[in-house]
Symmetry: none
Subunit: 127 residues, 4 copies
């Protein structure tokens, strides 16, 4: 999936970081493309964690809580700051369950999400 994500980003002329986490938000793989921002790996990881643990596109999470809600603050504290509920990550699903997520950072957030979608689409069916 990382290779597919990098290929998708290159086709679009983007320089991004791509993170893959499991269903519990634990890191499984990460790649920072040359020229992607220094902290884009951390932001990509945070988006992927958000998507995995809530089983939702991170775009949905950016709209879920009212401004000032204590919930994202508490979740971020629980996850050691590795929580970025902002567009750019999509869950990897087996049926309805999230078994992981892909998060992307470094480009406009809708482009980040498009790269995540392409990375997930490349997942082998049998996996």
């Amino acid at each position: 999936m990382l290779d597919a994500g990098v290929a998708a980003a290159e086709r679009r002329g983007l320089k991004v970081s791509i993170a893959v986490v499991d269903g519990g938000g634990y890191l499984v793989g990460l790649l920072k493309m040359d020229g992607a921002p220094l902290l884009s790996p951390d932001i990509a990881q945070g988006k992927a964690v958000a998507s995995a643990v809530f089983n939702a596109p991170s775009l949905d999470l950016s709209k879920r809580w009212a401004p000032g809600s204590p919930i994202p603050t508490a979740v971020s504290a629980r996850l050691g700051g590795r929580f970025v509920p902002h567009q750019g990550a999509l869950p990897i699903r087996d049926g309805d369950a999230a078994i992981g997520a892909v998060g992307v950072s470094g480009a406009a957030s809708d482009q980040d999400e498009a790269v995540a979608a392409d990375a997930i689409a490349a997942r082998p069916v049998a996996a």
Copy 2:
């Protein structure tokens, strides 16, 4: 650069703190002028870190994220609170890459930035 920054602040009648960090945001040098606010060294450091790790004037960063965006919160957590995306810091560049930054705090933020610019202008060419 610290001496040049102090001289520039004195010419303007300002009492500020000036921080220099490397390209990864690690502190390299810092001076608090007599009479500068107690926490101005920490704020100057935070501005410099922000400018270095995003390779941008910290003024630009103050406009980059919508109010309530989770990204600056997550970045601040990642950097142990050493992240102040607010006018007053400028990157030190080698070509296009940020090899460090100078951050200033203690005066109005546009004056802080002017001091940072003077400090960077004093950098030896051969360095």
Copy 3:
């Protein structure tokens, strides 16, 4: 380097995680092999950070401080817990300077280090 590290681990029959960081300890790439322990990515990252920021094999760091020294505790706090001064990581050097590090976790720590060495040996000369 990640691919070389995975190949080296497979040759030895090991299931590990491999992290690559830059000279400031920022994550650049990471892979967790199937079957490697859940937190091995985080431990690999922490070893790599330790090796990069101190420009030393992490084995050396495990012997540097007396038991109870406050220095590793303070460094860990400064780095947000991403600091594991334990065998399994080696610096990537350009001349004498550390420009990054590779950290490995999941096997015995001397085997982890051997995988890191193989990953670094695969680095293209021109890079």
Copy 4:
């Protein structure tokens, strides 16, 4: 004092970082010499904070608490991790009161302390 500390380190052939804090442990000035370790500024700051807030040489603090004592842990938490009770810092005194401290890191800890002593000795009498 920073300049005097750097001169003292150069006379000894050392590459260190030197931090000056006020009586409350707030940073006033810091210099990292070329070639000093990446995190030596943070460690120097932590030593200086320890010396200032306890009004004692940091060497004394390294012996003050029994192994496993919860006090240094609690103090470190209170000070955001900026607390390194380890040889290399000396208080700056006005009479018996600590009005600040100088902390040094990067060499052997007794050499660090010698540099701190030289830096403090250079303080203008009228200050």
